[in-house]
């Protein structure tokens, strides 16, 4: 028996070595998490295909990203995500060999970017994306900026990059970014419109308008920046801002009535105007708009939903040469061989798009005509960029990079889509979760992928790995096997709730469903509306989550959108089936949408959730519009309230339901409200910078908090609490713009039913921005302390004093207590708070908190740091009960000794080595398994992982070796038998002796 025991002990040691610890090992990266890199909607694209080798395109996007993409596969070579305010105004590339003066990199190709906000000009090395130089330009004021890179730029002192920005024209040396000269154009009322630099000329023309009624042309020597000549001419009338440069000495401007095109030519500095009525060019006149594409000697004008091409003759005479239907996108003109200039246009026809490349001079010459089948859910074509290449038969081939309405980026070549990128996902605005279909018998989506032999092989490999016997090849095989684990990406619900869908709404108004297993797009749909072509999406709500009929009813989400950008424009409701991604219905609701209030407690018999939508008139509308929902709502009519925060005025107003608006409209689902309370913050000392409530669907397990000495504190858990942070108006700006004496941060906890201020806490000498998270009965917020020159985090926990009397055990045993009785905000609960502050070494972009199915598991704060990573910080670190010297009992309970700052443990970055560039939000959702929570972070990139804040106490880890367990059992049984037989034999021989 001793032998069996020894064997058993040995096996125990092996089994315990297979149990994983909490932090992530290198080979666990990618098992539960995925990361997707995006760039956003492309604004500018510059091709770089001249050289042999890797063909690439440099793009700048609306998410402020400069990236170099592989033209063959669409992969990102390199990418730089700039700050949210650093909008990129222009990108251009210059080719050229570097002479001895410029760095060590031979054969450098630069990409230049110009940023609007800070007026910076940066040069990047094209092959690897390293920044070569950066020049900060004078930016006294914000104005539009222009970048002009000479076509045949050489890396020489004689050539310069001209940049107009902040009211100055700058000439910058391409070699090292040195500012060669600058010219002031900040004169009152003067607006620079165009900077033109004719080829082979040392004269730069700067065209601007003075008070929109006088055209001025400056001729500037490009070497010295001296003004050579200045001409001006008054215009009888006013210019609108729209301008198109058609050639090196002519521009076409629209006047302020938008019905006259004015050709301004400034040959040799003489300015002449030539007016052309649009009605003389095209019969049906109306308000015109100059389109952005730059075509040589031609311009595109949009009149009455039609695009017309207007040729500009030598004498400035305009004539219409072609017209196209509205849904046409055009590219800039592109020089092709033999002084010819071509441009591309794309228009829709049914489910196809037609790409046409024509010569600018001769619109009848079609160089290319292709038709491509296009997914309906991409919308129309928004932008086109073309590039030509020489085919083997010496003819011109064209490739077109197109940006669709849903922000996706596609490369078309030879009549096919070579690659596509779903760039809409770089601008996610709202996220919700949804369940996958239940696995039904017989229609299982999953295939039986493993035969028994495969299964056994896999387990033997795993066993080898855990016994440290695996060879490097085996390790690779094991890793691959774990990554491809069949269960991960199935399209059905699993036991643990690990497989889910994240529904993401993007700025373009497109819905994406992402699978948590591998991050692939399960479906995507572009919102439609009967009222307007493309409503903009506002927010996303769970509409129907069937539990009783989970087998035969599909859940759906509600997308609230709006036709137009104004807050009074009419709203659109879309209901989208979560399983299929089909739009069930879409309705134009005929009133504006100011706020949407889901009523999570009220569902009708089909488990549709009731929602209230407030409009600009102070009315609220009930959805779904069914008599049943109306009945449910009317029962709770007196108990429903709403409030709105007027940030500019510093007022919070609370409203109660009054009556049906039957008097004004016949709509019985519309209700009027009356104002119940207002909280007015003094505008001279406080400005609202942040408000926050608890997540309405958060589950709280218990109302009691037990301290070390068995004492009970009752949490004040209420959905009707609003956290408000205000700062002094002076301190609302950037950090450090005020002295500590001038700035104060005040936080409030306000009951949104009665308007009562439950708690007020003032931080003198502190400043925003405030990032906060509100969960259960606590708020944690992050701000800047000007006195200490450090960021601080404060936690406030709220407890109910009025229930603290419930301490008699017998009453509790017999159930004679009022702890579960419904509570009302009007009962004026007494409450007290506990708070504590800590320094935090990092700047923060967003904070979230983990959420689990039953709320039992301890919580972690998920802090999105300025470095675009996510840090998981145990709630235990922000516990007001922390003291400098906790007693033994407190230590056993897990109270950490108080320190002045919160620790950042490098292993607790849940994003490990990755960055979620441009991080904007973190969403958590519970899995079915209590210990586990889903975390989805979005910004320019997307990141998903699964977290277990208290480790996976309720399940075996993924890499638990069942084979090892099985083998252990078998070995043990065998050992028992062998030792039994041996002992029998021994006994027998003893007896015979």
């Amino acid at each position: 028996m001793a032998m069996a025991l020894r064997l058993y002990l040995l096996l125990i040691v092996f089994v315990s070595s297979a149990i994983v610890s909490f932090s992530l090992y290198e080979d666990q990266v990618g098992l539960m998490d995925w990361h997707q890199r995006y760039i956003g909607k492309v604004k500018h694209a510059v091709f770089h295909t001249q050289k042999t080798g890797r063909k690439r395109v440099i793009v700048s996007t609306e998410e402020n990203v400069v990236a170099s993409l592989d033209l063959r596969h669409g992969e990102i070579f390199w990418r730089h995500v700039l700050g949210t305010k650093d909008a990129i105004d222009g990108v251009d590339i210059a080719l050229g060999k570097c002479k001895e003066s410029c760095l060590d990199v031979p054969n450098t190709v630069f990409a230049f970017t110009l940023m609007y906000h800070r007026s910076m000009l940066r040069a990047w090395n094209l092959p690897d994306g390293q920044m070569v130089w950066e020049t900060s330009l004078h930016s006294a004021q914000h104005s539009k900026s222009l970048l002009s890179v000479p076509v045949n730029l050489k890396f020489d002192k004689d050539y310069s990059i001209l940049v107009f920005g902040g009211g100055y024209l700058h000439a910058v040396s391409p070699i090292d970014g040195e500012l060669l000269w600058k010219k002031d154009f900040t004169a009152e009322g003067f607006e620079v419109q165009r900077v033109l630099q004719p080829l082979e000329s040392s004269i730069v023309y700067v065209l601007g308008f003075l008070h929109s009624s006088e055209a001025i042309v400056y001729q500037i020597d490009s070497k010295s920046g001296e003004v050579v000549a200045e001409k001006s001419k008054a215009f009888p009338g006013r210019f609108s801002g729209e301008i198109s440069a058609v050639s090196n000495d002519k521009v076409v401007v629209l006047d302020s009535t938008r019905s006259i095109l004015v050709t301004i030519s400034f040959v040799d500095g003489e300015i002449s105007f030539q007016k052309t009525l649009i009605s003389s060019l095209v019969e049906d006149s109306g308000e015109a708009e100059i389109l952005s594409p730059l075509l040589s000697n031609m311009l595109a004008v949009k009149v009455n939903k039609r695009t017309i091409f207007v040729r500009v003759g030598d004498q400035g005479k305009l004539e219409m040469v072609d017209s196209l239907s509205d849904e046409t996108a055009m590219s800039d003109s592109l020089p092709v061989a033999d002084d010819q200039v071509a441009f591309a246009s794309v228009h829709h026809e049914g489910s196809k798009i037609h790409l046409t490349v024509k010569l600018v001079d001769d619109l009848d010459t079609v160089l290319l005509r292709e038709s491509i089948q296009m997914d309906q859910h991409r919308g129309r074509v928004d932008r086109v960029f073309i590039n030509n290449y020489i085919k083997t038969d010496r003819s011109n081939g064209f490739r077109a990079l197109i940006v669709m309405e849903d922000h996706s980026l596609l490369l078309l070549q030879q009549g096919a889509i070579v690659w596509s990128r779903e760039e809409g996902l770089a601008s996610v605005t709202d996220v919700t979760t949804a369940e996958l279909p239940v696995e039904k018998d017989g229609v299982s989506v999953a295939k039986v992928e493993h035969t028994l032999v495969d299964w056994l092989k896999g387990h033997i490999l795993k066993l080898k790995g855990s016994l440290l016997l695996a060879s490097p090849e085996d390790v690779v095989a094991i890793q691959e096997m774990r990554m491809k684990s069949s269960g991960r990406s199935k399209l059905t619900r699993d036991h643990n709730g690990f497989r889910k869908l994240f529904i993401a709404l993007t700025r373009a108004g497109k819905l994406f469903a992402l699978h948590t297993g591998d991050g692939r797009i399960v479906w995507s749909t572009l919102l439609n509306s009967p009222a307007c072509a493309r409503p903009s999406g506002i927010s996303l709500y769970q509409w129907q989550v069937p539990h009783h009929h989970a087998m035969d009813e599909n859940p759906s989400v509600l997308v609230v959108g709006r036709c137009g950008s104004d807050s009074s424009s009419p709203g659109v409701l879309s209901f989208v089936d979560v399983y299929t991604g089909k739009e069930i219905s879409s309705s134009d609701i005929g009133h504006s949408v100011v706020q949407v209030m889901p009523l999570p407690l009220f569902t009708d018999s089909t488990e549709q959730r009731l929602h209230l939508i407030a409009d600009t008139d102070g009315h609220v509308h009930l959805y779904p519009k069914t008599p049943e929902a109306l009945g449910i709502f009317q029962r709770e009519f007196q108990n429903v309230y709403w409030y709105n925060v007027e940030g500019d005025d510093g007022i919070i107003r609370g409203h109660g339901m009054k009556s049906s608006c039957a008097g004004e409209t016949a709509d019985e689902y519309c209700f009027t409200t009356r104002e119940l309370w207002t909280v007015v913050f003094p505008s001279e000392s406080e400005k609202i910078i942040s408000t926050l409530t608890r997540k309405p669907n958060e589950v709280v397990h218990t109302q009691a908090k037990v301290s070390t000495d068995q004492d009970v504190l009752y949490k004040y858990v209420s959905r009707n609490l609003l956290f408000v942070a205000t700062v002094s108006p002076k301190g609302a700006g950037e950090i450090g713009s005020v002295t500590p004496e001038e700035s104060a941060l005040v936080v409030y906890l306000i009951d949104t039913v009665t308007g009562r201020i439950l708690h007020r806490l003032s931080h003198q000498g502190c400043q925003g921005p405030v990032h906060a998270v509100f969960s259960e009965n606590w708020v944690v917020y992050h701000y800047f302390n000007l006195r200490a020159h450090k960021y601080e985090v404060t936690v406030v926990e709220i407890y109910d004093q009025s229930r603290a009397e419930n301490k008699n055990v017998w009453k509790l045993v017999l159930g004679k207590h009022n702890l579960t009785a419904p509570i009302s905000s009007y009962s004026r609960p007494e409450m007290f708070t506990k708070s504590q502050s800590y320094f935090f070494p990092q700047s923060v972009k967003t904070i979230a908190v983990t959420s689990t199915a039953k709320g039992i598991t301890s919580k972690q704060l998920l802090i999105g740091t300025i470095g675009d990573q996510i840090l998981a910080l145990d709630k235990r670190f922000v516990d007001p009960r922390r003291t400098l010297n906790p007693s033994q009992a407190e230590k056993e309970e897990g109270i950490i000794p108080l320190t002045d700052s919160l620790p950042i443990i490098p292993q607790s970055y849940i994003t490990h080595s990755l960055k979620v560039e441009g991080l904007r939000g973190i969403v958590t959702a519970p899995a079915k398994l209590e210990s586990t929570t889903h975390v989805f972070a979005y910004g320019v990139d997307l990141f998903y992982t699964r977290l277990a804040p208290s480790k996976t106490y309720d399940s075996l880890t993924d890499d638990f070796s069942y084979a090892l367990l099985l083998i252990t059992i078998v070995a043990l049984v065998a050992a028992i038998y062998i030792t039994w037989a041996l002992s029998e034999k021994k006994e027998l021989s003893e007896k015979w002796r």
Binding site: E636, Y641, T702, I823
Partner: protein, 180 residues
């Protein structure tokens, strides 16, 4: 209990031997002579048997008292073990506590059986039984006290409210910044 029985059996054999020797000095292997009737004087006989019974009863009572007091030793030992085990919940302290609870319980269950051998008309077993019960109850109390000090008894308010869900709210409010 086994011990008690063995003592009793041996005692009876010895008593018989003694009486035999007092009445019949000769060996019992030899038959009585003819005409001799072995009739002992009646009063003598009854006196001996009464004496015998009294002794037995005394002895039984003594033994019953011994048995009744035996849990006391146990109690002391248990107390010592508990003190050694400390007040934190771990395998050792839990084992000790549960054995401290189990022993008195099983003893209380078998109280009838324990005192069965001493059952006699003349023996007053009530007091020993009561002492036995009291001592075992004392042991049980000690076990329960230990359980409480370990924090495993729901004697605090916190034990009854820690799983109470937060109360429902009557009012419902929503809103925030206007969409823009």
């Amino acid at each position: 209990m086994d011990k008690g029985k063995a003592v009793m059996g041996a005692g009876r054999r010895w008593a018989v031997d003694f009486s035999d020797q007092s009445t019949v000095p000769s060996s019992r292997d030899i038959l009585d002579p003819p005409g001799f009737s072995r009739v002992s004087p009646e009063q003598d006989d009854s006196a001996t048997s009464r004496q015998k019974k009294d002794a037995e009863a005394n002895w039984k009572l003594q033994k019953a008292w011994e048995v009744a007091q035996s849990p006391f030793k146990n109690l002391m030992m248990m107390g010592f073990m508990m003190w050694m085990a400390g007040n934190t919940v771990h395998l050792f302290s839990i084992g000790i506590t549960f054995s401290a609870l189990w022993q008195p319980l099983s003893a209380l269950q078998s109280v009838g059986k324990v005192f069965e051998p001493f059952k006699d008309n003349k023996v007053e077993l009530l007091m020993p039984k009561l002492v036995f019960l009291a001592l075992n109850l004392g042991g049980l109390a000690l076990g329960i006290w230990k359980l409480n000090t370990l924090g495993l008894l729901p004697t605090h308010a916190s034990d009854w409210v820690s799983s109470l869900p937060p109360p429902q709210e009557v009012e419902h409010s929503g809103g925030g910044f206007a969409f823009h």
